[in-house]
Symmetry: C2
Subunit: 472 residues, 2 copies
Amino acid sequence: MDINSFIHDLTSIVGSQGIITNPKDTEIYNTDWRQIFQGNSIAVLRPQNTQEVSDVVKLCVQYDVTIIPQGGNTSLVGGATPPKQGNQIILSLSRMNKIRNIDTIDSTMTVEAGVILEEAQNAAKNAGLYLPIVIASQGSAQIGGVIATNAGGNNTLRYGNAREFVLGLEVVTADGQILHNLRRLRKDNTGYALKQIFIGSEGTLGIITAAVLHLHPLPRSTEVALCAVPDLQHALRLLHLFNNYNPAALQAFEYISQKGMDLVCQHFPELNFPLETKAPVYIVVELAIPAQGDGLRELFETVLEKAFEEEIILDAVLAESETQRLNLWRFREEQSESQKLSGANIKNDVSVPISSIPEFIERATQACEAIYPGIQVAPFGHLGDGNIHFNLVQPANGDSKDFMNKSHDLMDAVCAVVYDLEGSFSAEHGIGQLKNYMMPSWRGGVELELMEKIKQSLDPKNILNPGKIFPN
Amino acid sequence: MDINSFIHDLTSIVGSQGIITNPKDTEIYNTDWRQIFQGNSIAVLRPQNTQEVSDVVKLCVQYDVTIIPQGGNTSLVGGATPPKQGNQIILSLSRMNKIRNIDTIDSTMTVEAGVILEEAQNAAKNAGLYLPIVIASQGSAQIGGVIATNAGGNNTLRYGNAREFVLGLEVVTADGQILHNLRRLRKDNTGYALKQIFIGSEGTLGIITAAVLHLHPLPRSTEVALCAVPDLQHALRLLHLFNNYNPAALQAFEYISQKGMDLVCQHFPELNFPLETKAPVYIVVELAIPAQGDGLRELFETVLEKAFEEEIILDAVLAESETQRLNLWRFREEQSESQKLSGANIKNDVSVPISSIPEFIERATQACEAIYPGIQVAPFGHLGDGNIHFNLVQPANGDSKDFMNKSHDLMDAVCAVVYDLEGSFSAEHGIGQLKNYMMPSWRGGVELELMEKIKQSLDPKNILNPGKIFPN
């Protein structure tokens, strides 16, 4: 391949502002957010519109160069990071960052792929609407990546994953055609649901350039409580109790383990622990409705009183102010940070059927403690939808290198329990290049065969995001 | 092909109880529910389990016989009716009718494809849970068909289409392999979302044999009102008002046109019209929550009072009893029947963006009245999700044959407006063989090309439900 002529042709499509070739400037694009993966690319392309994306893809087909679509690069599984070898470009959607339209009657928003999630959330809010994808990386994650990875988050319980918000998609296919499918319809049974195929496919089947998102009414009353619960069986009973009042008011139902709470209290002493009782399990519960002052707090108190009466909870605090509300949430939000401050740690983003959570936590904890005595098992996460971040922290004052040497054994032990309980080894972060080696044992046989057939039919030259999802 | 040996081999798979070859007995399977389509088949197969389905498919591949999967045969678009020509069998899932499992903690139900929707609803209810797919054909529709057509219904507004309930699927592929994907997970981002490809594909990509459905808490407080509204713009404002209290309590928001109401009153005089005012637009509103006596009626009254104050509604009646509640619903539910009793009629199952409903109804009405003076335009349906059944009834005392001769002109006129407003020509019933000729003009170009690629990759011999979705 004549690289100079390829770069020349690319530049004539996107202009000199739309291409980066200087290795010093491409490095950040070549490296994933966690700095686990470091790849290479001929250039980083930053097209300004869908036609440019299409032209770039056609040129890459012609030159036999593969394409790594990239949004905020925060997948955590190296989903948007190029491989070390091979001829590839990175196609960053970051300059396609226009909010094309917000319709308050349809409750829809048409956005380009490069819009930062938080900016989309704010634009919705300004229009009196709510885009309920709440994830830690929302300040850098881009809509295209959010959809391509079917992102989840704290509010999945109520609103679903990214998939549930997507009414329409605009996609550039592997041969550079443009699928114009930006319909704003809630119901449309006209042939195969093409958008569903691209959502969650991690950029391996097409490049998402724009989307129509379905927005929800903006919550104007929000109430948050932190509950101390004797064990996980009781946590499930608490979930059941809230569901049987008004499930739709239940915005989040988040789990914090005793160890997880201890680590936060240790590293963030300014967050005065607000309960009288320490407990094996804590739950952050958030209720929210659009109407102001419509009895939400009374509903919350009623359910909590019932939970006390039935001895489902040991203690609870209901936030009295916006400040206290944000404070209570920080016990959950600082889980990752406090673990990082405690030394080397290992993340497991897994899910099991909700009913199996107590058994999962118990068995996985025992397995890890057997492998590495002194290990700090600090699970937390989205109990309401079965998605647990089963995180492991090195022993206090232990050796972090020695701990990390056991990371594969520990992850395998956790996954063995998940597998046995018919769970998933990647609940919300996807596969990328971190977990593709696990696909044959978890999703092998007919499943992987069907996925390969679809990949082959939509991207026969394997030009889009090679080395992701499928085992190498 | 040696038919006798084929029949012999089929019988050895399913037993003599599992095959019907007598033309007198196969006729009902060969004819669609509306009796518009009449096809032929070599035999009707009624396997008892997934392995038998797999073996039948493999045998058909061997004999080069195509397969028409059939559930309740109530798609309304001939989606499960065989063609007239060719060698095909009907594969009825009706004997695979076991509810395998209900889990009240996970809120899931594992059901075989042949379970009648109403039976699944009842089983969920007995377990204190709710399966919220409510459609007119629920007494005969089977779960497999409900999923294969991504059925909608009255409650889509709140709970989504069938797609939103499916956590896992078991599918027999076009080469007779079994995809075991009956996971009960809310979150599982591990490669392509295969289930999404089969949902809504009308049996053209695989045969759904079982599913895991996500159930909701059972509503224990339900309140229904019938509202008289000056026009459709005000109906949208009413929808907005309910959404801005607690959207999740809003279970249904159904539109009845003035003409539609008049026809019901004429044919069902026993349903005493409960309002003081006749109006251009009526809305049936249903609110529901799981908790008993938790202020739902007060909420409803608050919103209705506000609607009066703001002159959004002219009149309203809130049902005082279960009997009155069912009675109010009948004004909506008898729309189809009263139209049938009024003579020849034409159905249009279309959707547009919610904000475009007023313009759609006005323009489509004018177009139809221009084509056929005296026509009775009687739209109704799921205003809350943009899905209008734009039904047309012959003039009173008119000639039904003459009216039906204009049916294509009338449907084309309605569809032209829908197309212009970026709507869908099939909102919830699918394509089948009634509307496949429309696919190139509505979903042509890249969309149809991608659908064909997927069909080709998953069913290269075109053995599953040929002649559906794709134009012949």
